[in-house]
């Protein structure tokens, strides 16, 4: 519900979706609310159709969204790639459930984090953000639309079942207090306009269908005119720009929250529903005199590489509780590059970590840090 309200506040006026546990509530809320604001809700025949309709609606000028969970997210992967290469602003919400396959429809997982990064074929960059509470479902969905409109890219809201089903108070600010960003449209005359020619920002300024520009938009590798080209040079130019468009603007995209990082020997790196038990574990460990801090990743992709690299020189170890068997932990380990230990606290899904499990993981890591010191 908070997610749907956030979408509406951000200006979302099209929702194409398909029922799936545990994401159906978003669609149901949108079905009820969109007609009242002059928007269109349509339940499509499957998730492939849902994402295709969302892309079409986005080119019609609407802010468009779909929501799904594991199996549906898998079905959306091909058209996610279409959204990336055609630079279509839209939002895809994934309320993650246990997998693989039908898995645990009603229970929590964070198993799709790498799928969010690499799920569609080809090499590309994507933006994925991860809310950890109903308030963040609201706030981050607004941010997802703003990022999508700014960078012309599908933005993934990677929530999980626990966050999706948590019921608590959400503060909705007045409309004027909400920052809403709309996509830029070209001012140049159609005769001299090149749709995929960009300035230093590397973000193209594109019109909507019906604006008189006679656009050609294709999933094929295309040049600045938008026309398909079959050669290595065009491929390099396009794919490089799609990657750098996000890489160069990382600072504007990456968002995180820190707790007691100053002087921390151990840093918990968390996101989604793992944040709360990790915060609880951190507080009790700190009461026991252990120097533990917490990094809460609000943006997952692009990954906060520079931050982890910097922190790896200050702390002794990173502890990563995840409701999977190591996805974001791999990224942390890669960026730590041996300068600090990375300890994964896995969870197969179906629930989330208890604060005790996380605290135990931190204590084990402390012992490992100590024994490493002795060896030296």
């Amino acid at each position: 519900m908070a997610c749907a309200e956030g979408a509406l506040a951000a200006g979302c006026r099209f929702f194409g979706g398909y029922p799936i546990t545990p994401a159906t509530e978003v669609a149901e809320r949108m079905a009820g609310r969109l007609p009242a604001v002059g928007g269109i809700f349509i339940q499509m025949e499957d998730e492939i159709a849902s994402i295709a309709a969302v892309l079409g609606a986005a080119w019609g000028g609407a802010k468009a969204m779909t929501s799904t969970s594991g199996p549906g997210f898998s079905l959306m992967m091909e058209n996610l790639g279409l959204g990336i290469i055609t630079e279509t602003p839209c939002v895809i919400v994934n309320i993650q459930r246990g997998g693989p396959s039908t898995g645990l429809p009603t229970l929590c997982s964070q198993g799709d984090m790498m799928q969010a990064r690499w799920g569609s074929h080809g090499h590309y960059e994507v933006i994925a953000i991860s809310p950890s509470s109903p308030q963040e479902m609201f706030d981050f969905t607004i941010r997802a639309f703003n990022l999508a409109e700014t960078f012309r890219i599908p933005v993934l809201v990677m929530a999980d079942e626990v966050v999706g089903h948590t019921v608590e108070r959400v503060t909705i600010p007045s409309a004027e207090a909400i920052e809403v960003i709309d996509r830029k449209t070209p001012t140049e005359a159609p005769e001299t306009y090149f749709p995929y020619k960009t300035d230093k920002s590397l973000i193209p300024v594109l019109p909507n269908a019906g604006d008189g520009y006679r656009l050609h938009i294709t999933g094929l590798t295309h040049d600045e005119r938008g026309f398909p080209m079959t050669d290595a040079e065009t491929q390099e130019k396009l794919v490089k720009r799609l990657i750098q468009k996000i890489q160069k603007n990382k600072k504007r995209i990456i968002d995180y929250e820190t707790h007691f990082l100053n002087g921390a020997e151990i840093i918990l790196v968390t996101y989604g529903s793992s944040v709360r038990p990790a915060l609880k574990a951190m507080r009790s460990l700190r009461e026991a005199g252990i120097k533990v801090g917490l990094l809460k990743l609000n943006t997952i992709w692009p990954f906060a590489e520079d931050l982890i690299r910097k922190l790896a020189t200050q702390a002794k170890a990173f502890v990563v509780p995840e409701v999977n068997f190591g996805q974001i932990a791999l990224e942390v380990e890669r960026c730590a590059a041996g300068k600090a230990i990375t300890k994964l606290i896995p969870h197969a899904g179906g629930g989330i970590h208890t604060p005790l499990q996380i605290a135990t993981g931190v204590e084990e890591t402390l012992r490992k840090v100590a024994s490493n010191r002795k060896k030296r």
Partner: protein, 287 residues
């Protein structure tokens, strides 16, 4: 990017709707897609609709390339997904005339489910399907519209599957306009596409087109000219027949014509009238 138009006196009247810089096109000599596109351009010109308010959506395949050649807002989407893409576009911008131009493999093999539901919903789209009875772009594999017994690269001993009958499928799903023509019948085809474009709701035009390079060659149907001659000799125009009678099969003449021309509320019309409908179909219990 809008194509510049030269004021050259020798320009063809249809050039205004073609992207000259994209020519030569990728289609083989004798391919029927060109005739189908040419007929479609005539109809687009006759509707009098502002070209800036027209949008074409294609999927993947030989016919899928139409979007790249038409000088309109044009979307070349993923394989099989032109219809749901067009659905989203049309619903948020109903003032646009949105039409889908794609092949039989794209629209009815991989994308068949989307056609069924778009027709059921009566989304205001015109769908033009070039049926060349195989997957041309990938070198001639069997499609859902390959006739029984026909040879393709993936049916080297002949196709053992029964093909779809597209007019019958379209009619059963609720399309308000259904026609089938040969790519040879350019005038009738153009007339039909124009009627389809002017019709509110989901209209469907099937174009039977020769694919001499892949389908024709493997089935020894001769040159493009011989193929289309064969199609003409083995077809009959029967306007208004029941779509179930239009099955394409060995020993039976291919039935061409306009089969359905009716009307019912479009998706958006039904959407605005839904509360009223609810009251009549599910009246509230009194007391």
């Amino acid at each position: 990017m809008r194509e510049k138009t030269n004021a050259d006196s020798y320009r063809h009247p249809k050039d205004e709707l073609l992207r000259g810089s994209r020519i030569p096109h990728i289609w083989c000599p004798g391919c029927g897609i060109g005739s189908a596109l040419s007929a479609a351009i005539s109809s687009l010109q006759k509707t009098g609709i502002d070209y800036d308010q027209m949008t074409v959506v294609s999927g993947i395949g030989c016919t899928g390339r139409v979007a790249g050649y038409l000088n309109l807002d044009s979307f070349h989407t993923t394989h099989g997904r032109a219809i749901p893409f067009a659905t989203g576009l049309k619903l948020v911008k109903p003032q646009l005339k949105v039409f889908v131009f794609s092949g039989d493999g794209d629209l009815f093999s991989i994308g068949g489910n989307h056609f069924i539901h778009a027709a059921r919903r009566n989304i205001d789209l015109t769908i033009i399907c070039v049926n060349n009875m195989n997957y041309g772009m990938t070198g001639g594999q069997v499609s859902a519209n390959t006739p029984m017994g026909a040879r393709t690269t993936t049916t080297p001993y002949g196709n053992s599957e029964v093909p779809l009958n597209l007019p019958s499928l379209a009619a059963a799903c609720g399309a308000v306009y259904v026609a089938r023509w040969l790519s040879l019948d350019v005038r009738r085809l153009a007339q039909s596409i124009q009627e389809a474009l002017e019709k509110p709701g989901l209209s469907f035009v099937e174009v039977i087109a020769p694919c001499p390079t892949a389908y024709g060659r493997r089935n020894r149907l001769g040159s493009a000219l011989e193929m289309i001659k064969l199609y003409r000799e083995n077809s009959v125009i029967r306007n208004g027949v029941h779509p179930d009678e239009t099955v394409i099969q060995e020993g039976k003449k291919m039935v061409l014509g306009k089969f359905i021309d009716t009307q019912r509320p479009t998706f958006l019309e039904s959407l605005s009238g839904v509360s009223e409908l609810r009251e009549t179909m599910w009246p509230r219990k009194s007391g």
